[in-house]
Subunit: 139 residues, 3 copies
């Protein structure tokens, strides 16, 4: 059993951007030479989130649309009253989806479904550079 | 420290079906003979989800009802415009709840509360066969 | 590689209370003397939740407000019809956010962002004593 840490640097295009990081995570697991274990993908920062989804153009619009239903930008956020950075909704959305995802791998391969990809969601209101942490634990 | 992989096959009854998999996960941990660690339960596929809930008949209606509030079937999903499989809302709901749950175990027992069960939620619009991955890491 | 289990006892002030447990988790990781790994923070119980957020007073109001939008107290929950404990919305909200969070640590430090804290959310309708499980796995 061992732990291997990788970083994944991303440049996002701003709010609602969704990046398919599946290949990056799969390659990191492959390079680790570990056969069986889990990989935790984590975003340091409170306005991004990780989940899985079928990465196709329709859902890349649908998921942000639903987040706008859940936590609309137009509400009067208390965060905004204090900090005036226009991203109260971003923080709330990120807390709901969560900052990490843990995926098992078996025989060196992620156990994802065929139409299931690991995605990073940029929820902040501007372009950001993100450095995801990939923590791979296995044997 | 070691890793043990188990599979759990389920047949779901379609949309909104919630299956209590606590006993299955507890047995897998028991059979592993590991004393302390974590188990990650993961669904390969982008229209199912895992969480914990008190598994009683009321909440088995309430949680799907709230998901219908959050991401109603009746919306015009972009996914639907492209793929015509009627499950745009399923994908969005699954991405919100998430495809995995990680539960610690101590002295061979899951650290769940008395009224807390591990549930798989079928969010797709039809009956499905599901093969969950249980990745058990511990010593 | 080893596993170290810690408990974290909290007294919450009731519904909507959010407690910053970052320091407690960081200290537990420090005391473990492990350098690299993951820590899973888990709440036994189905009316509490864990996530990360920027722990500032505005968001401590905004996140509960959004949960009230998503799963309002005023709805007629089936859970309530059976159990009359007034917390059907609590259960649903907890299932949506989730009972655990997994955070990597590297060189003995949590990989959180500067403005990102680990929070426990009390979603039940009364004061509760909570015993979180911190499962630390690493080397």
């Amino acid at each position: 059993m061992t732990v291997i840490t990788k970083q994944l640097s991303l440049n996002t295009r701003g709010e609602g951007d969704m990046l398919d990081v599946t290949r990056n995570v799969a390659e990191a697991v492959g390079e680790s030479n570990l056969k069986n274990g889990i990989v935790t993908v984590f975003v340091p920062g409170s306005t991004g989130a990780l989940t899985t989804i079928e990465f196709e153009p329709g859902l890349l619009m649908d998921l942000p649309d639903i987040l706008e239903r859940v936590a609309p930008k137009s509400l009067a956020y208390e965060h905004e009253k204090r900090w005036h950075d226009g991203n109260g909704h971003s923080h709330v959305r990120a807390a709901l989806i969560g900052p990490s995802i843990t995926v098992p791998f078996v025989n060196g391969r992620l156990t994802l479904g065929t139409w299931q990809q690991i995605v990073f969601m940029e929820l902040d209101v501007r372009r950001r550079s993100r450095n995801l942490v990939l923590q791979i634990i296995g044997e």
